[in-house]
């Protein structure tokens, strides 16, 4: 006859005040993806760098 010795089950320390789950951890449903869209300020800053004469040159080069 074989005896298998099972280890004694021990209980770990329990948090007496469990933290409420945050909105991101809540399994409520799909979330809005973070698209990382460019900020408007940066776009305007970039637009300011464009040479305003370039459009005129384009028309001239295409012969319009």
């Amino acid at each position: 006859m074989t005896h298998i010795a099972m280890p004694e089950r021990r209980e770990g320390p329990v948090d007496p005040m469990p933290k409420q789950p945050g909105p991101s951890e809540e399994g409520g449903g799909p979330k809005r993806p973070d698209t990382g869209s460019p900020e408007k300020d940066n776009l305007l800053k970039r637009m300011r760098k464009v040479d305003p004469k370039q459009a005129e040159r384009y028309r001239q080069r295409t012969g319009e």
């Binding site: 760098k49 370039q54 040159r57 080069r61 295409t62």
Partner: protein
Amino acid sequence: MYEEPYKWVEAVGNRRQYLDEQFKQGSPVVALSYDSGILLLTVSKGTPKLYEIYDRLALGGMGHPADLEKIRFSLLEMAHVEGFNRSPSDVTGGRMVKYGIAPVIKQAFEEIFKAPFIAKIVLAELGQKAGKDSLLVINYDGTFEEGAHCAVLAASKPVERDMVAYLKQQAPSPPSLEQACGIALRAWTLGDRAQRKAGETMSGPSPETTQEPAAMDTAALYAHLRDSVAEKTIECALLDRSQSGSSKYRAVTPGELGRLLPKDIGIAFP
């Protein structure tokens, strides 16, 4: 009809022969670096063959005017979109050719049910410093070569080789604008004369033959030039590093060209 590989190869070969025939009547184009920029020169019959593409890019072409216009417009669009999306410094000749126009020309050449581009082009890019200029030549089959000091377009490879040899032999490094104008015009004349001779004998110059010493005779070249340019226009454009502003391209007026070219040329400019 062309489903068998060897027939496709034969069709491409025929197409090459057809295109070579088309260029026999074309006017050569010469691009040459000088001390403060790049000079482009050709002789045209009505339709211009030299164009501005972007601030530091110029185009010279030979072939069918409609195909040249199509290529020019593609390059213009590509350069300006790239310049707006990224920055003007990202608009380089290498990018335009390698990722833009060369694959398009190659595809058109190999699609045997469609018409190929009857055009050869040279794209000149002005470097920030002297010696950093780049000249890219694209053949009708989409193959391209990059050079630094000079580049030419002509009807056949042997003629192009003779013209380049003449430019390398004659041009000091780097030539002044006046010297470059004279040398480029003589190189154009050399190429035009070789093309006409090849047309007369109905067989192009053999690849081994180079121009005989008489070909280097300036007086003989000028005599041929005077015959050739009657009712035609010497077209010349510069990418001038010393020009103020971001755009460095300018077309040389006939009056200015008259002052720049050697006096013994014997051609009157308005």
